[in-house]
Symmetry: C2
Amino acid sequence: MSIDIECIHRVLSSIIEIDDKEWEYFSGLFEVKDFKKKEILLHADTICKNIFFVNTGLLRIYFTDNNGRESSFHFVPENDFATDYESFLQHTPSKCYIQALEDTNVVIISNNVVLDGYKKLRYGEKLGRKLSEKYFILYCNKIHALYTLTPIERYRVMNKLFPYILQRVPQHYIASYLNISPVHLSRLKNEQD
Amino acid sequence: MSIDIECIHRVLSSIIEIDDKEWEYFSGLFEVKDFKKKEILLHADTICKNIFFVNTGLLRIYFTDNNGRESSFHFVPENDFATDYESFLQHTPSKCYIQALEDTNVVIISNNVVLDGYKKLRYGEKLGRKLSEKYFILYCNKIHALYTLTPIERYRVMNKLFPYILQRVPQHYIASYLNISPVHLSRLKNEQD
DNA sequence: TTAATTTGTTAACAAATGTTATTGAATTAG
DNA sequence: CTAATTCAATAACATTTGTTAACAAATTAA
């Protein structure tokens, strides 16, 4: 099997049972692509037609507000998926951007391929459900944190859940993820001691 | 058909096709129940085993933080569903409470009944998917608003999307929904003119 | 009806957070 | 390697938001 799709094979196999025949067919529909650091994989206001699986590198999903200011919504490292699932499901214009923070190699699964997978894979529907539940729970936790935790508490939670992210991402992106200004994050980190 | 389940029949029929035979069986598994104003339908730290459909009245879903302070997450009026879907799906302790803000009459659909519906209704799985997508999109919009809008902008959006809510809910609950203090909301409303 | 409770507003003050600008270090591009 | 750019820290100041308390209006309970 091409090394490009070994990782995603391992990840999907951990969720549902896929036999070799199924995999040979399904993975043949994937596209593998490289993006340079800072390249945009998905533009806001366009319809998101892909799910990206990160082989190597790091992606950032972010919004912009009326003043053009960015809010980092999520960071996606190796072996994880990135998409705007709302736009993907509804075929509505995306509210967010997906950008490479490092040179990044991704497996691209298009909308058509996903729909085909639902039909052709024995457990395709289950896979779709499991992945969508995973995202749903991510969102639940995000909202809960925004409502009930202070910025510094959110920082500590992030530190605990995604320690590797803090080492790889410029701090002002972390600040926008926490929904505070970069200056304020710098202050909070000092006060912490 | 009992008047108790006319509303939910209408709502579900607008999502999927259900014939009379199916409905007779499925609706026979529902429970209908009255809750007094201020009563709790779901306690935090318990496992959410039900989906509630509001016939008459109004529900509030809210979190509490470490200091016991409440954050209203969502208001659920007539003809809409309330649940902690994260807890319901995963069988994990709920992070939130569901409370009646008025005397409220609900149809209760238990976890078992939902699972049964997935099997026995021709379009049961599709119904589950559609409802879960609806919640997912609600969450997307919520997060987007928290990141990109100011409190007064969130207030205006809420006013536009759920005008009836503002008439029926004490203002300090609205404030906690917007994630600001009641005093601050009162100020913002004055400044608005 | 009357008393108790809840609610919304306002004022005064405190705390949290944002903004701008400056600096030097780190990183990147050529 | 050098110049340009990005980045993090800091200070000074402005703005937003929270807190407490007081009061009056509205609602609820007895």
